[in-house]
Amino acid sequence: MQLSREQLLKAYRQMKTIREFEDRLHEEIPKGLIPGFTHLYSGQEAIAVGVCENLNDSDAITSTHRGHGHCIAKGCDVKGMMAEIYGRATGLCGGKGGSMHIADLSKGMLGANGIVGGGPPLAMGASIAFRNRGKGEVAVALAGDGSCNSGPVFEAMNMAVMMSLPVIFVFENNGYSEQTAPAYAVGAGKTDMVRRAEGFGMPASKADGTDFFAVYEMTREAVERARTGGGPTALEFTCLRYFGHFEGDAQKYRAKGEVEMARETMDCLKNFRKRVTDAKLLENAEMDQVDAEVLKLIDEAVAEAIAAPFPPDSDVTKNVYINY
């Protein structure tokens, strides 16, 4: 692992930005200005960032309904994202998509996705384009544990192996598929979902998704393999979702103290800080400085989103087609 100080500090900034973005939404949603359903990513930051720090803008990711972290990690503009979540004209999608459909094709972010399991076939398809283009680009499907029981995901994995495509299937196992645990819903091997991917004929491995370095390193190997024609890989990263399936979920299925315990003992940001300060790679002071900058950015993003106009009503039928 040869991450530079700049890379480490950037990774910390990205994870912190995701955490503050989501925690702030958790505070703002009850105020009633954010329309629709919102699914928060807090607790999973090391996965999005550990994966995406291996990628360039020309590489692609697909995402899920819980997509804010993926968007930030892939470089989407935070203020544009916030405005989108508030349904404003200044949002990344002009207020058309909202929380579940944020996309920025210029950053290789092929869209958050409201359909569980919607992303992996899309990533596999993007990787056909990359293979044919021959420039070593890769596609990563960031998918949840819920999607691992979806038929199209299996079909995508098989086709990826069949064509030896440069695609990586990342399963973020955050403990709950909506409100049902994979311990119940994944019949074979209980919570070990990547063993199925091995059955399709691709390398598969599993790591602690709250450990940025483990995620980064395991993804680095997979990306290297994909870029050099070695075909697809499946990765499972375990973590714990800090909030409910959606904001407003009663979460009666969770034991008391489960999240508090995770925040205390397996928090990716805390772990990162400890690792880099113990190893004298970064100073606490410089990360404190990042914290302050991130908080300011999120404050500005919320204020600017609230001040921004809604899209004009005439936008309803705009962009249904390119040409009609």
Binding site: G95, P182, K252
Partner: protein, 337 residues
């Protein structure tokens, strides 16, 4: 008569049938919720829309089944279980997700009876929540009942009122053909009188919810409520009175109630939450144009959503949907023709 919510009416119908017939089972994603969770508590929120209170405790694992997120397998399993003698009720949480399991509906359940020469029965119900109004955006808001109505072999219910939800659900579960049952997700809290006991309502029988003489407003699902509000306002202002007709099922469709009303009023306005192309509104328009042309004193008016995906921003979503103002404009245009 007791006042109940649309949600309570669904629950009541499901319980009547679950209690009455052990062949009835319920399957779906998070129908109880909480399976495998760290607290061990089931019945997390009684299904995502709260329609199954304590069903897990009451009916047990064999008849009330939490599934993985596997829509195609869920609906295929319902069709197979129905062929094998059960009467499954399966939930696809949001109607948009029917995209994943359309084959199981369209190529499997719908066609068994016909393909097998009348030798099979497929008594299954697919329950699903549809509709815009909650800023749930393009993949959680669609009114796709026309797509399903198009399929021969499937019956389709799109109820608007608590009493109808109960009565039609009883019929749907008892019906030996496959039924897709659309609940509007913005109607779960709506209240209305719900008769006690076994109050099955036949499919293909519409209901007139307002009576008038100047125009016929045919409305589907949540649009019945929108239309009633406009028609009440016009009646109160004096001058224009309208029939408001809810077909309640789009397949079979009660053509008689619509034609009889149009014969009386000479004017037809159809209010349908779906986009306009190949819609139920278009279907009813064509039917009246073919069978009731001589009754019409004005062109048929359709008030539908826009020919676009459902937008997220609340103002765009309102602009997308039919509204009271658009319905009133259509009624006036028809009456003033």
């Amino acid at each position: 008569m007791a006042i109940k919510t649309y949600r309570e009416a669904i629950t009541e119908a499901l319980m009547i049938e679950m209690d009455r017939d052990e062949r009835v089972i319920i399957m779906g994603e998070d129908v109880a919720g909480g399976a495998g969770g760290s607290s061990g508590v089931r019945d997390n929120q009684s299904g995502i829309f709260g329609t199954y209170p304590q069903f897990h405790a009451r009916y047990g694992e064999n008849r009330f089944i939490d599934t993985p997120i596997s829509e195609a397998a869920i609906v295929g399993a319902a069709a197979g279980a129905a062929l094998a003698g059960l009467r499954p009720v399966v939930e696809i949480m949001f109607a948009d997700f029917i995209g994943y399991c359309l084959d199981q509906i369209m190529n499997q359940a719908a066609k068994f009876r016909y393909m097998f020469g009348g030798t099979s029965r497929t008594p299954m119900v697919l329950r699903t929540a549809y509709g815009a109004g909650l800023s749930a955006a393009a993949q959680h808001s669609q009114a796709i009942y026309p797509i399903i109505t198009h399929i021969p072999g499937i019956k389709v219910a799109v109820p608007s009122k608590p009493a109808d939800v109960k009565g039609l659900m009883l019929t749907a579960i008892r019906d030996d053909d496959p039924v897709v049952f659309f609940d509007h997700k913005a109607l779960f809290g709506v209240q209305g009188e719900v008769p006690e006991g076994d109050t099955a309502i036949p499919f293909g029988k519409g209901m007139r919810y307002r009576e008038g003489k100047d125009a016929t407003v045919v409305a589907i699902g949540r649009m019945v409520h929108f239309s009633e509000a406009v028609v009440d306002k016009l009646a109160k202002e004096g001058g224009i009175t309208c029939d408001v007709i809810d077909p309640r099922t789009t397949s079979p469709l009660d053509e008689d109630i619509i034609l009889a009303s149009v014969q009386k009023t000479g004017r037809l306005i159809i209010v349908d939450e779906s986009p306009p192309r190949c819609s139920v509104a278009g279907d009813i328009s064509a039917m009246v144009a073919m069978k009731g042309f001589e009754f019409l004193d004005a062109p048929i008016q359709m008030v539908t959503s826009a020919h676009s995906p459902v937008p997220f921003a609340p103002n765009l979503e309102r602009a997308y949907l039919p509204s009271g103002a658009k319905i009133e404009e259509a009624i006036r245009k028809s009456v003033d023709f």
